[in-house]
């Protein structure tokens, strides 16, 4: 899967958790939690959403790598390349 498709998938999952957020204006390097006003529980749901959308298993220990949009895409790409 290409970076652009991955980005779209991440946006789709985020859009279901924080539908009010202006996803187009996200700073891709900044913290998703801070920018989108999502809390720990939302973030857990984000991980679950990524799993059901992309079939990627995210070990809880890797969660910190997914704190920004860029981080998410890089992590998910590395996972899909490895599988």
């Amino acid at each position: 899967m290409k970076s652009e498709q991955m980005r779209e998938a991440v946006m789709k999952v985020l859009g279901r958790i924080a539908p009010e957020a202006d996803l187009a204006s996200i700073d891709p390097a900044g913290s998703l939690r801070d920018q989108l006003d999502i809390d720990s529980v939302d973030f857990l749901n984000f991980m679950i959403g990524l799993h059901s959308e992309l079939g990627v298993q995210i070990p809880e220990a890797d969660v910190a790598k997914l704190s920004s949009l860029d981080g998410c895409i890089a992590y998910l790409l590395s996972k899909s390349a490895a599988s």
Binding site: R16, A18, P19, D37, D39, S40, V41, D42, E60, A64
Partner: protein
């Protein structure tokens, strides 16, 4: 079911606990005597929380002792000795005085766990103002309601939250809110706001705490009921006696302890135990600005050499999901005692603590209204996993049945379910709900404070939580009033009716779920579902907004129009029809 008891042997404990013999301490305990362990204002001028938490230590041998270590999100560290806190809290008290803020005025804070929050709290108490911290994940509506009920005169917040929570807009409906102090703004001030830092720099570092009556109002904590607006529970300065006593007997503070309470001051635990109790004992308290992250937390426990840790079941369950292998990668040789509060800790979690940290997790029970821990598992007392423990020395707890005529019958027989009730009279019991005398009075019957929780007491005197007596939702340890959520949903143009329940969730206890019926002309669709969800989040913030919305043709109500949340919940849980019909006729 055979119950496994975790036995405590004094010889196994690394430090002799402050309370070795529960029954004996309980038999001898008197609040008047306990209060003498605090200093009181010099010259017999009363009792002030900030004096006990800061001034008395900073004017003695603890002047240079580390009081607060702040850990920033990005790895920053700031240390504050008791001497530093003396200076900074005095400056903030002078800032308030300079603004003409008087005794009893309410000072609200809306920010993440930054050092300024702690300084504002202590400075407010010095100036005999009333400190009211709001959780930073609240949206504009919960903020507006609380500022309005609490008649906030000053708000301390950040520029980012001022904009995101639309405070400027809210101020039009908050005529009493005179001053907004912004933390961390670098550029020119936003119109109508003041710079916290500029005011602090100009203020004097010397402040003498005025005479303070132990019954003077000190803290205002909001909590939620089933119906109506949020309730502002009033606490007074002598609540510090209960904070001190519970720090001593429940959290077992010793002079060289490094204590970490993970709760946010926006919730009562984060104020009573994240600010006051450890400082009242002159020990070191860790404050972490970051959100939950298992590995970060383990690293803090290890690197900061935390000895006593106070956390919450939701966090424990999240750590359990990560797995004990991760937890075991770190070194907890300094950690001596783990406690948890917020909702009942399931026995698996108590045992998980043993596997992950080599220590059981000690559950305890209290609520916003009680101001401090009331029922607990103590270091030297055997644990019955799943039980909240036994009442604190000085606290009389009972299971009661409340009759319709207002009388109360104490249930002496063990293992009978009833209302958990406490005999009023301890120093940190709430003194009222601000401007809501009726709801305050309704909490008391037959000489008891009725907590709203259902419980049972076993033959050995351990209490076991059963559930809430009302429809209040307990999510991630925090109470959420369904009415507040329903009211916000009803403001959406497509929503005709809304019923909100707590849906059981394995990690957070209960998840806020809304059932919504639509006005004619609107049809259910995923995009409308998302629109309403986003609408609710914008108004209520992520901590209060529903996480799930389901459309229904109608929302069940009683003949008098009351939403039957219990029926919605029964249906959600797939309870048998028989149960449902009983519920319906009862309503």
């Amino acid at each position: 079911m055979a119950l496994e008891i975790i036995e405590k042997k004094l010889a196994d404990l690394p430090v002799v606990p402050n309370m070795v013999d529960y029954e004996r301490v309980r038999a001898d305990f008197k609040w008047e005597t306990a209060g003498r362990e605090l200093e009181g204002l010099p010259g017999g001028r009363g009792l002030n929380i900030a004096h006990e938490a800061v001034d008395r230590h900073s004017r003695g041998p603890r002047h240079d002792h580390l009081a607060l270590r702040w850990l920033g999100k990005q790895g920053e560290v700031s240390d504050f000795s008791y001497g530093d806190l003396l200076e900074l809290s005095s400056r903030f008290a002078n800032v308030l005085k300079g603004l003409g803020v008087e005794k009893g005025d309410r000072i609200f804070a809306l920010c993440s766990r930054v050092p300024e929050l702690y300084i504002a709290a202590l400075g407010t108490l010095k100036n005999i103002g009333v400190f009211c911290p709001l959780f930073s994940a609240f949206g504009p509506e919960p903020i507006q309601e609380r500022l309005s009920i609490g008649e906030g005169r000053v708000l301390v917040t950040t520029e980012a939250l001022y904009k995101r929570r639309k405070i400027e807009e809210l101020r039009k409906s908050l005529p009493r809110l005179e001053h907004v102090l912004l933390i961390g703004n670098k550029g020119p001030s936003l119109p109508g706001t003041l710079s916290y830092h500029a005011l602090m720099a100009e203020a004097s570092a010397h402040f003498e705490i005025p005479p303070t009556d132990p019954e003077d109002m000190a803290l205002l904590h909001f909590t939620s009921g089933t119906t109506g607006r949020p309730k502002g529970a009033i606490h007074v300065h002598q609540a510090v006696i209960a904070h001190y006593v519970t720090g001593k007997y429940v959290l077992d503070y010793h002079p060289e302890d490094i204590f970490w309470c993970t709760s946010d001051p926006g919730w009562v635990t984060g104020t009573s135990y994240g600010i006051i109790a450890p400082l009242a004992h002159g020990i070191t308290s860790i404050v972490d600005e970051g959100e939950f992250d298992a590995e970060r937390w383990y690293r803090i426990l290890q690197n900061e050499k935390v000895t006593v840790w106070y956390t919450a079941p939701t966090a424990v369950r999240m750590m359990m999901k990560v797995g004990k292998e991760t937890a075991r990668k770190f070194d907890y040789r300094n950690l001596r005692f783990i406690a948890s509060v917020g909702e009942p800790l399931n026995p698996e979690a108590v045992f998980w603590g043993l596997e992950a940290f080599g220590l059981p997790i000690h559950d305890n029970w209290w609520q916003t209204e009680t101001g401090g821990i009331m029922i607990a598992n103590y270091p030297a007392m055997n644990i019955k996993p799943g039980s909240m423990g036994k009442p604190l020395p000085g606290i009389e707890a009972a299971i009661v049945h409340r009759h319709k005529d207002g009388t109360v019958q104490v249930v002496e027989e063990p293992n009978i379910q009833g209302d958990l009730a406490l005999r009023p009279g301890w120093p940190s019991i709430f003194r009222g709900y601000l401007r809501d005398e009726k709801r305050y009075r309704d909490c008391f019957a037959g000489g008891w404070y009725i907590t709203g929780d259902l419980a049972r007491r076993d033959p050995e005197g351990y209490f076991w939580f059963i559930g809430r007596a009302d429809d209040v939702i307990k999510s991630a340890g925090h109470l959420i009033g369904p009415f507040e959520v329903e009211s916000a949903l009803m403001e959406h143009p497509a929503v005709a009716e809304a019923g909100v329940i707590g849906k059981p969730d394995p990690v957070i206890g209960e998840m806020v779920k809304a059932f919504v019926s639509l006005k004619s002309g609107y049809g259910p669709s995923e995009s409308l579902q998302m629109e309403i969800l986003g609408f609710a989040r914008t108004r209520l913030g992520p901590a209060v907004a529903p996480r799930e919305i389901e459309f229904r043709d109608s929302v069940p109500k009683t003949r008098s129009g009351k939403i039957m949340r219990r029926l919605l919940k029964a249906r959600e849980l797939g309870l048998p029809e028989g149960d449902i019909s009983t519920l319906e006729s009862e309503e």
